[in-house]
Amino acid sequence: MSRLTLLCFAFATIIGVMTFGIKQKVASLEDHLQKVIKESRHFEEAMHILTAEWNYLNNPVRLQRMVEKHLKLVAGTADHLAALDRKSPTKHEVLSYDTRAMMQLADQLEDS
């Protein structure tokens, strides 16, 4: 047997072993991928249900009902908004907030 033949034989054997190894690795990765896809879909479905539930629980009608019941907040008016470059609020504007803290501030403004 010539040296070339031996070399070819050795080369073919090495390539064969490598191909077999890669095939096994690919099969194993495919199994893993399927498992990951399955888990991913499971989580995706769970997330989807949670998103729907989150949106249901954050329905503005429900939120407003709860705010009115528990926090006693009311919707804002134009008086509550001001541009950043606007001068400090007048007593009338401060009074419109209708809170105790703002009332105290209004008194301070009046005194000054």
Binding site: T5, I15, I37, R41, H48, N55, A78, A82
Partner: protein
Amino acid sequence: MKRPIDHTRFDLKSSFNQQISHALQMAKNRLMITGVVFSFALLMVCGRLVDLMLFRQEPLTTNEFSPSFLNRSEILDCHGQVLATTLVTSSLCVNGKKIFDPEDTVIKLKTVFPHLSEKDLLKKIQEKKTFIWIQRHLTPHQQQAVIELGLPGVEFIRDHRRIYPQEALFSHVLGYTDIDNNGIAGLEKSMDVDLKRGDAPLVLSLDLRLQHVMRDELIKGMDEFGCIGSSGILMDVDTGHVLAMVSLPDFNPNKIDRIHQDQRFNKNTSGVYEMGSIMKIANTAMALESGVVQLHSTFNTSEPLKVGRFNITDYRANYGTINVADIFIHSSNKGAARMALMAGTDKQKAFLNKLGYLSPTTIELPEVSSPMVPKRWRDATAITVSYGYGLALSPLQTLAGITSIIGGGYKVKPTLLKEAPILKNERIVSAKVSNQILQLMRYVVTHGTSKRANIPGYFVAGKTGTANLLLRGTYNKARVTTTFIGILGEEATKPKYALFVRLDDPQRLKKTFGFNAAGWNAAPVSKRILERVAHVVGLIPKNNPDTVLDPFFQSANFKYQPNKCKE
């Protein structure tokens, strides 16, 4: 003695050696060819492996990762909030051929599903049908209860159910699907093919926050004024995007088996109504655009005006001789009618046609009605149409037309889709007339019939409309529908939002001093909506939001002090 040479044997041996040599040469050649072929094949395999391992490293782009469990796309608002989605559920069926004891199976199933018809189910099972629906879309508790029964022949099927997390908030716009997820109303029906592709969500122009503001204030307004129904639309003036659309009474699309026929009706697109004085906006724009009148042109409103046997009257006392601006601000029927007569029926009809008032609105909803247009357009028609009778329009159509007039003069096409192409190439009125009408509407709010709609710090323009209810062919003067069209912006040069509010049959209350006109009910309801809208979208109030949009409003012909609200 020397043995003689056997030449025959020698020849045979030589021939044999030659044959072996030839065979070996041939084998060598064949081996060489085979070796070359195999080497070439191996090289190809190696090349391919190198190619795959080193040069092809793109990520997997198969559909394996797409959310295949969604057999119908989600519907989102303009900020990505979920308005409609699909959930995976389990449905229950039985295979009649696999059931050993039908009576026992039915009795046990009845303990979980009490509403089941025992007789019908037993009959189907005894007929040995291979597929019988028991219950679609089981709750997890029901599914667990059925599993615990341990019945043979009972099977679960993976199913899908359309869910609307915002419940009634978007009911008329979204519509609903049947039990098999086929769209049968609203956007679910009109966009059914696109939604069934399930690839990308459908993003609407609607804003969840603004929709809630609109619905909340309409419900409060209905309670306050004892109305039987109401509707409202909020539109972006520049783009025609519908930001909120509410029709009351509405319904919960998650429970379509409990919807009453009245609740299904979308008043904004399916209903057509006589708009009353709202039509004076289009009438005045038509008269100004056609050049028939100027803002300072005067008309005598004290002279009687008749249509057939009916006298046309104004809401309040005789205004005398007044100019076009006063006619608009005080909403004079006689003045509007005289302007329409001066322009003529042809011009009036052509203008309304250009505005889109004589054909159905184009919007992505299937429930769109055609306007009720007079068959013959006579002088009497021109008179009644000028102040909002004889021509019935849908609220969406009305608002789109007025938005076209005040938003620079180009035709606005309303849309519910965020990504819809915005085409503004058809001019309805000139920029000058557009500014004049907007300024007139501003004076209606500061000095006219809509003072209760004014919000200090913002530019609010508007027009009220009160129309008598048509009951059994005759107008009932005691009962009305009231409408308000409002424009909101930070300043006069940038109107941003157009609002339509309509109240059905508001009552005469003590606090409204017995009046039921739009200025007493639709205007304050609109004010509350616009104020909350301004807050949500972050419009900043200004000390003086007004700008004079036309020189006429500074001239001696105009009697009102500019920019001062006459409270």
